[in-house]
Symmetry: D3
């Protein structure tokens, strides 16, 4: 059950409104690296956990709830950037309206900010593509989910640092500095949660590993055209990180599998030629 207070989780101010920066910020709202994705991802992951994982469930839901507040902060920033231009600039832009390019520049080249949303934030990414729920990972397996979360916070923090480099608006720097810090915390908490599991790798660790093919489970298979000697790299020799095997190297794929495509039913009309009667 959720609650809401009409205040932002952290102060957001925009000193120098810039519609182009509004467009860039959209990536942090509706992009694959954005906050809608992690908020929904952590929720669905939490809701799949049975009672014995209650601490993880709470961890996930509390973080999801925090991310909802980040969407709100970013939406506030986007709208301020889109609307904050001084009146005389807007006036001028509209007076010059024979040049629709001006309108485009008012929106940093995301016309839907103006046309669909009246100069406000949208659930889209910085290229203007609506948020894609197909990027949400909630596998039912906590270890897989935690790696998905480390990844999500890694690309999320990477995005935030790239945005940080694209502004020197003090308000934006402060907001991004906060969001980058939160991503640092979240990366660390998911890594810590992974450590709290007993031997989670290879995921899923609960699968009886003796049922997997024992010839190729710690072997680097080269796909080079001509067989190459073992390069002696960390992933071709030595202990594997899951401590269950030793890396080896083979210069050739197993191969020799027979290519088979049985005849389809005649009623598929796959036959390209005219039927003889």
């Amino acid at each position: 059950m959720f609650f809401h207070e009409p205040e932002l989780q952290f102060e957001v101010t925009v000193d120098e409104p810039d519609p182009h920066f509004a467009k860039l910020l959209q990536q942090a709202i509706g992009g694959a690296e954005g906050e809608i994705r992690v908020a929904m991802q952590y929720m669905f992951q939490a809701w799949a956990l049975p009672p014995e994982h209650e601490q993880f469930r709470n961890l996930l839901l509390e973080t999801a709830t925090e991310e909802l507040g980040h969407i709100e902060m970013l939406a506030s920033a986007v709208t301020e950037h889109l609307r904050g231009a001084p009146d005389d600039l807007l006036e001028e832009a509209y007076e010059a309206r024979e040049h629709a390019a001006m309108a485009a520049s008012m929106t940093g080249q995301t016309p839907r900010h103006l046309l669909s949303a009246g100069q406000s934030a949208m659930p889209i990414d910085s290229n203007g593509v609506p948020f894609d729920a197909g990027t949400i990972v909630a596998s039912g397996n906590l270890a897989a989910d935690l790696y998905a979360n480390v990844m999500a916070e890694s690309t999320g923090r990477l995005l935030a640092t790239r945005l940080y480099e694209l502004t020197d608006d003090p308000g934006m720097e402060e907001m991004l500095s906060y969001l980058i810090a939160r991503d640092t915390m979240h990366q660390n908490q998911w890594l810590e949660a992974l450590e709290a599991l007993d031997d989670p790798v290879p995921v899923p660790a609960s699968f009886p590993q003796e049922e997997e093919n024992q010839d190729y489970n710690y072997t680097f298979i080269s796909t080079r055209r001509e067989p190459q000697p073992d390069p002696g790299l960390p992933w071709t020799e030595g202990d594997s990180p899951d401590s269950n095997g030793q890396f080896t190297y083979v210069p050739e794929q197993p191969g020799d599998g027979e290519v088979v495509a049985p005849e389809p039913a005649p009623q598929t009309y796959n036959d390209p030629d005219e039927r003889e009667e």
Copy 2:
């Protein structure tokens, strides 16, 4: 530059053709956890790497090339499952064609296998949704990419083990046992590659961490309605996995941020009421 030989990377046989299993296998071809995704993901990651990361570039491209062969193996299996039913069963199915339900059962309820593809594999997932390139992660930052790869191989192996439980066709068991083994290897190689980096966490490690907000970068912020005492969990106290901080706990979100949405330009016609003249 790629090459191809007309043999499968590993033998694929289908002993008991089953169109329903064909549908399930599609998840491993065109699903978010599937082989098209990792093949393309590893390619685009590799192509972004500058010369000093040549070893990683090769690692990524060789693995991508192997995954292309997995798509081929799975496509072969799907088509065999769809077409392999004995002739008299097909005959019977078509004779009974007043019941289109029979056709549906011929395809395991993915009618497009029959209608669009003439009983063959497609670039779709097990729910019939076309492969979604929006799930591909290639961030330019090798550490973020490697975590994405650990995650991809984790959900990929999880999928393969779930499929393994849904068949006792010996040929399918052998194929899946091989693919599960390869995912074990790939998880381990990406983890090993992460270890080969110096201090990659928090990602991106190259961002000067002193520029992030120092009050909230190792702090668990509770989002509970009423303030709760520190639960003393691994993510609220002790050293952080990145070795750069100490976890702490605060029972309240910072809050107090002012909610602001400036007036939009009048020419957006956001005003819902009739204009007074």
Copy 3:
């Protein structure tokens, strides 16, 4: 800023677990008529409103927050339906695993419930298609948004009543009875909010209506092949609902517009024939 408590907004019990019903419930989570859509829609609408609309902003955000709790209730119900089958049935299903069709029946024919999510709720619709953020309407104009909300709660309540007819599980009936009641309230509150506006129709009412074409703004234009007499229907005669005009009828579209497509630049190579030198 959001908060969360680990309890459901309203009690959810599943008396007779049924994976097929789980699949149907997904429409109320990730479908066009579902709760993710309204939760996000009301948030983005609220965040676009300037200070003078504070009461509407609060109304939207409080309702959005309630809808987040509905997603949680429905996700809980879906997971219970997917996992609640008695152990011996599952055992039997897995023992009979040479028939992957059995697995399909375990998931009500949404294999990703099993393959991608380990028998738990997902952000998809009942056809297995991921939630589509392109359905979210947040136009910046409150009147347009409120009509979008009346519509969303209309199709949402319609969906809930259809689901109600497809179960006689007492726990599901109680949950749906609650959700149907909330949709009744929400329809009414959005209609009431529309009434609180002064003359919002035609939307946007703030556009100077004298600038629209005065010959065709209250005229029903027939598109029938042969001109038909005025049928004397409520939309061809009498006062218009916005009180600004009188309906009239014309049997023919204006027509006569010249069809023009200028020559494209030669460098587009639109020319289909071989160029003469």
Copy 4:
């Protein structure tokens, strides 16, 4: 059954070709507020209506047919804007082709206008995203559909007025003035059609309202963190618009629902840790 004449429904002229405006117009063709959506929406709604609703069926189909003509008008305008630049400008643009930015400016930053379509209109929105059929609403229930249509014409008219502000090309002003007028008519006709129904609210009115939860069907439930007093707003007291209830207010969500996620089948391998043998 449809017919077509080679003339536009209403005259379209472009006095000052502007590729940037072409891009903006795309929102009215392939956007969520555009003409493809309403044309298809009205058709599918009509085709679902049984004989006793013949008048509504005709109303829907005649309007759908008119909207097809609007797509044609807009496509004509887009192509004129894209191709109408004077030859010497094009020549200059191509001569300066070392600057691909010039090409981008030729298309108003929608490169596919040039690359995929040879300077002509496309079924995409102004952000370049293909038309999304997931936005089409045809519920089978006429009241729900009519509210969807009021909404569609509201956002459609809003879009047209915003476009109107972004041009002072006389031809475009005339075309948009006509389209705005038609949206006025269409909003009014759908509202009139709603009035022609007997008590359509709450939608679906045919559901026996006594089966919905009677404690929460006219109650505003606050989701604030701390209980707040009844604000005495139109949606917390007084008669409801459907005339079936009285608004009331409660400061707390019902709550107390137990959070349950049963154990998944072991064969899902949801268990994140290594299995003990």
Copy 5:
């Protein structure tokens, strides 16, 4: 400008209503091989043609208009199949509503037919995925477009013949027999239109062919791992169909291209390791 008459282009009767066949028919409405696609494709192609191609423009628009009527026929058939089950069967299905599987069987496993559309046709494909406007081809080049149309009518006719095999309802056989005939005509008319062009191949024929690489424009490049002898196939020797060249064969890809990825800007934080200060 379009017109509509309330009659179907060709009679549609359903003798034996079957919701499973309704689902299959959806592929012909909203699938990649379906009628929405060709209707819109032919329109956008036509609207791009300049005056000298008026005959082709008319050909395209008349065919598009016919296809609109096919959508209507198919939608009518789908709705009849979904609703036509005898009352006692429905009654029984609903009485047995504790088995939601029954509801699924009522819809041929496309729950949205019932939940979203009240047992009526939708703009989706047979897998339940909304129509995808990204499949529409309108390139501006008439020859490319005509090949796209031959392909569309080929896959369309293939679909129709496959559907024909899945029913022995006399009404459906008659409808499909008509649609198959129309696809025969349309394939032939597009091929005829191609013949009416002068030397359209290679498309675009207007590009000065001497500017393309002259070493590889009629050469089959083998991508086999080991060089293979020329197989002497129709595409490795003899005249090319465009009459502009002679096929040749080379056993190796040119190769030797240098792999380059310059250093990214440091502000992208692509560097995966901690920065040394």
Copy 6:
């Protein structure tokens, strides 16, 4: 089974890095006319072919393998364009970072190139939309597939020629000249393959043509509002290209089909009015 060598199939150099051209090149990677599409299309087509079509299978797979190398070449070019700007320009761009517009110009207005990918190529089109696997055609019928391939190579070559006109970078001209040549070859080889089939038209030729409606299979049906005389065009008279019929002309659609939508089940609550008790 695939192999890879770390060299490009053909040399790629970028003399004048231009982020705007990078954006345009994305269409050739992830667009509907691009290389990911054809690579995957040819693979899935090949994998559907039974043994007697082995020569076609090899032809398809060898070409698919070549296209994989084209993706690699184009990705290399895109990354070079994005990163190749001289250091001082980058420095200047970042110093001027209060203007996020500068960042946009660094990416040619595809912010995700910078934000999501750290200045590298992505599996998206030039409008920033992820690659859409719904565009892949692999029908199971070789003739339909070959026409799809002619079309794909036609729009692909058209795209490449349009790109060629938008640059005078010598390296880009050479790369495009090579890709245009390959598309010439591929168009010709698919046309040659079609010629190698016996009478493939109308596709599918294996359907017994006497089962299609014999009144309308070679008849042009006019959809004009008023009956028009036979225009005497190549598609209204004379032999059809498939040599199976004679074109004829009728001025009217058959028509007269009865419009029927049976009553839906009452439990759909399609009824819009309040139920009388």
